[in-house]
Amino acid sequence: SAAASPSSEGKAPAAAEAPKGLTTAGKLTLCIDPEYAPLEYYANGSSGTIIGFDADAARALAKHWGLEAKFEVTTFDGLMPGLQTRRCDAIFGGLYMSEARLAVADAAPVMSAGPSILAGPALAGQFKQPLDLCGRSVAAQSASSNAARINTLKDECKAAGKDEPKLTEYPKTAETVLAVMNGKSEALIETNVAASYMAAQNEGKLAVAPGVFETDTTFGVFTRKNDPISPVLAEALKALHKDGTLAQIAKDNKLDPAIVDVH
């Protein structure tokens, strides 16, 4: 369901000036790891066109500059090296804008996000606030900000005189889902947008515990540090937000349009 963005049906604004020094002339090349529904994934599971919010937003961005979007498929591990080796101009990959990452790359905000808790339907109802996770076993994707959030929660639990949560990290999100469904872990922590998708895919077995965490972090589009593209891209995203394109794409991908209000 590659969404038609509003800018394609309404009055087409004159294309903004495209950034210089693109990897492939005439194309905006983006590193992407299409295993993260609903942000980026293959239409047919393991093959087909890449769809999802990020994919559609990337296409809209390219169009904004009068370019064509080209996806350079990479694993999660390969996203940043791909950018550094100029295989792509930017990463559209559901990456949190963390301090450590901003030390090595630039990023422009694209949507707000936050951790969400998934658990079996019965248990999910019991989680109302972060401290409810104390003493529970929680699965997370390794090296994610979500995993880091559980690590900080350990201290909070200790301060509150409760048991620490037990964190188990897996390389892929699918394995965290499996861990909960197999009873290896009681809950899993995942970014809210992906969490909703997982719950929908595993209805009856997994449910989102709403509102446990604040939605206080931001996904960004990453570019090389101090690259001339960085400011241009930030401007373009602002423009796409302003004219409602991003909100429409969110809606088309069954996401709350409010999440793109990050400016």
Binding site: G45, T85, R87, K172, A174
Partner: protein
């Protein structure tokens, strides 16, 4: 979640698995060819008189025996293009990077296989060839190599099967071979059992076919005038190998 035969069969006939299996085998074949060529050079270096050649060949085997192939793939795909802009071009695909990376690592193992095969040829063969007036190169090509190949065949076959399974490491440089095909599907659909079962079937078929091929080739090297083999053939050849 129960095992859904429908999804399983659908995956089994899904052309992307077939394509993934093809990629796995193709990467393995090219990597083995590269590894055999480089490994032969390294083996000659290790048995050579020259201290420098010995040292270089020894370093190669030591280094690539120690480094995980995954790291080599990451380096070839991510670091080398920063040093050599030519590698940033379109032709340097994950497929090419994968077979080169796996081939380079595998060469360290093939070098040892080839070296021990060469060493196991009786010195009398070399003497007999030279006594006939053959040049050292002729002795190598006409006398030693045909015999060394026979000895190197079983372990090489095992390495090849290892490489097929091993090519899944190339998913890290976004080559979507057989195992990655299943994993990507799992990440979206969460249908573990069906997707992985389909992959297992493919692996069993591939490895069984390769084992049959290996037995066939080995029979060609029995060197008897009769057509019937001396040893009973089994699905599994003697010797160990890589595994993934």
């Amino acid at each position: 979640m129960e095992f859904d035969i429908g999804i399983f069969v659908q995956q089994l006939v899904n052309p992307s698995y077939l394509y993934g299996a093809f990629l796995s085998v193709a990467v393995a074949v090219l990597a083995l060819v590269l590894a055999t060529a480089v490994g032969f050079a390294v083996a000659l270096g290790r048995t050579s008189q020259s201290r420098i050649a010995q040292g270089a060949a020894g370093f190669y085997t030591w280094f690539f025996r120690a480094i995980p192939a995954l790291l080599v793939l990451l380096i070839i795909w991510n670091a080398l293009p920063q040093l050599f802009p030519v590698l940033r071009q379109e032709w340097f695909s994950p497929f090419i990077a994968a077979f080169i990376g796996l081939g380079i690592v595998e060469a360290a193992f093939m070098a040892e296989i080839i070296r021990s095969a060469l060493l196991s040829i009786d010195e009398g063969q070399n003497l007999a060839g030279r006594a006939l007036g053959m040049s050292p190169a002729k002795v190598m090509v006409k006398v030693v190599l045909p015999q060394a190949i026979r000895i190197a065949l079983p372990p090489t076959g095992n390495e090849f099967i290892g490489l097929v399974k091993f090519s899944s490491l190339a998913s890290v440089i976004s080559l979507q071979e057989l195992l990655t095909t299943a994993q990507v599907g799992v990440n979206i659909t969460f249908r573990y059992a069906e997707y992985y079962a389909a992959a297992i079937i493919y692996y069993l078929i591939i490895v069984s076919l390769l084992t049959l091929l290996q037995n066939y080739v080995e029979k060609k090297f029995l060197w008897t005038s009769r057509s019937k083999p001396k040893k009973p053939s089994t699905l599994e050849p003697i010797g160990q190998g890589v595994h993934a």
